[in-house]
Symmetry: C2
Subunit: 122 residues, 2 copies
DNA sequence: CCGCATCCCTGGAGATACTG
DNA sequence: CAGTATCTCCAGGGATGCGG
């Protein structure tokens, strides 16, 4: 069972789950995907909506998501420039399982906090 | 919508989703949870099964998972010592949504790799 | 066997300033 | 507006050794 999860220096792109987790597990990818869920967004729009992300990280995150096929980027040749981001089909399909996780988190967060308190306090 | 996701320095334990993601998003928590899925495991057993985890990280990860209520730790006063880890009900319930994510990853990993190749190579 | 302490190194991420 | 480049800082995590 764990064999499937193994890191694998073996092949180019190792265990699917690790690979995916490494992407959305980072600080920002998940937030950006959620930010794009309602529809098309511009760069600064995302920046504002997410709030505490730096331009650099937003840029890097979007690039990676684009490269992995979660997000599509569209540049409009205007002045001032306008760049729009939207979820691809792949990106949208990913939000399915993510919503399950969100549901779980909302329901069980209390239990986690309680457990933390208990161990933390004594 | 994003308000719910916000970091929140405001309260002690902020957005549930961020909080949960921060935990299982780290390098190892997920692997350890999977390793415990089949049942009770000893420390070195987990170490071997996961393969490329250091003792330190296994220890830290288990502690955090224990503190958050995902994992129960049981020490047997023997020589040599024996320590057993198992999932709690909370931990097991978490594997539900996780399996969804795993499913998705298995199904869509190919598309991700393909996207990467396309952008990377051309 | 379990697992913490120490040392060390790497890369992730913020701040800032600059370009098209 | 939409980024990129540079500097910097520090937490994450590996390796190793010691203690219970």
């Amino acid at each position: 069972m764990l064999d499937q999860i193994r890191p694998a220096d073996i092949s180019e792109f190792p265990c699917p789950i690790r690979d995916v987790l490494d992407r959305i597990g980072d600080q920002w990818s998940f937030l950006v995907l959620i930010g794009l869920e309602p529809g098309v967004r511009r760069f600064s729009q995302l920046e504002r909506e997410i709030g505490d992300i730096s331009k650099q990280m937003l840029s890097k995150t979007l690039r990676r998501l684009e490269q992995d096929g979660f997000v599509a980027r569209e540049v409009h040749a205007e002045v001032p420039p306008r760049v729009e981001y939207r979820l691809t089909a792949l990106g949208r399909s990913f939000l399915g399982p993510m919503r399950e996780l969100i549901r779980w988190a909302e329901v069980n967060h209390g239990a986690i906090v309680a457990a933390r308190r208990q161990k933390g306090a004594g």
